[in-house]
Symmetry: C2
């Protein structure tokens, strides 16, 4: 297994180098970048759809949508309109890496971009290890999953800056407790920001949009340098 660990270390260090290049390129252009991670089916694409609806007229948004197979998510986001959308099909790989993101960015116009969101492959484990050059990871969890997920997949919640609890319209249909998931998440990462919302009903989406708007405006301020 030593051979495996050596190769993994080499891959991760090469990935970190490429991620640093991406981070530089984005920061020079004052483009905040988010790496959106979750289980399959927690609602990453739905969240991006409501985000585009609220922000696409005011800001130029770049989206990179990763999937193991199909361009379904990218197509949904293109249909939502108002954003530059690039698809990454990993053909079996369980996470995005910086090389894939670098290639996708090469096909996008960074001079006209206020925000970049990378939608990772649906997987709560592997994407936690790969820096994509983002400013922060945002982990999405839905109120129909178990509220012990932060304890069971701690690396992802430790490395995220924010947790968004989606599908709050389905609270009460299972044993999922909003208080418990918050406590579990903060026991792993005391600094984690937490929002809860429902992409379906729109409840709580305003706070997310306000947070994103603030992020974009802060990045543009000269004093941010």
């Amino acid at each position: 297994m030593t051979e495996q660990i050596a190769v993994e270390k080499k891959i991760l260090s090469e990935n970190d180098r490429l991620a640093a290049e991406i981070r530089d390129a984005l920061q020079q252009r004052r483009i905040p970048a988010l790496n959106l991670v979750s289980s399959p089916g927690s609602g990453k694409t739905s969240l991006l759809e409501v985000t585009l609806k609220a922000l696409a007229r005011r800001f130029s948004i770049g989206l990179i949508a990763g999937d193991v197979q199909t361009e379904n998510d990218a197509q949904r986001l293109r249909a939502a309109g108002g954003a530059q959308v690039q698809a990454i099909v990993t053909n079996g790989a369980c996470h995005l890496d910086a090389r894939m993101v670098g290639r996708a960015l090469a096909g996008m116009n960074l001079e006209r971009m206020d925000l970049l969101v990378i939608e990772n492959v649906g997987n709560l484990v592997c994407p936690s290890s790969y820096d994509l050059g983002e400013d922060m990871k945002i982990v999405l969890i839905s109120a129909t999953e178990g509220d012990d997920k932060p304890l069971k997949y701690p690396a992802m919640f430790r490395r995220a800056a924010m947790m968004i609890v989606n599908k709050t319209d389905l609270l009460g249909f299972s044993d999922f407790s909003l208080e418990r998931v918050q406590n579990n998440a903060r026991s792993i990462n005391p600094d984690l920001q937490i929002l809860s919302l429902s992409c379906r009903t729109g409840s709580g989406v305003d706070a997310w949009i306000a947070w994103l708007t603030d992020l974009i405006l802060q990045a543009r301020r000269p004093s941010a340098e």
Copy 2:
């Protein structure tokens, strides 16, 4: 990347060798073995809880519960009672492998076991590549995830013998269509058996229990040799 592929091939071929040993040991004792896979939060542990409730008095069941971190699932299954339960904590690894399963089995009494169910790590990608010595993979998907999951994670649905759609009590609260998920799954794997049920309400659970009972009884018949 050639170095990475070579190491991966070596790991998988070593895994296949260990999995074949496990398969032999189980088949000699006529123990059918299932590898239960899904996204985090689809309800693998809940399914095993209702399964124990229905079958534990009649049959001796062995359960191996894998998690990236915590023994939460194993504790829930021990609390449900009536089964030999072994926990595997992968400490960050995104899937179970045959070596981990072999170690867990070494602590179990195979002479008194009618059925083995291995609950894999919640992950729709990586566990598809690792043979654990099981007779078949069963993929669980919940009616609160997207119905395009079989298209987006095809390897898992291609390698599974059965798909169980859980949380059918939440059908109608989202755009998820039972017909669509069935069609998508069969377009990837025409031979896939499909059951739908709700662990919460118990609806559809009878068919799953009848199928399992039949599997156990078939394995015991002398003519099965």
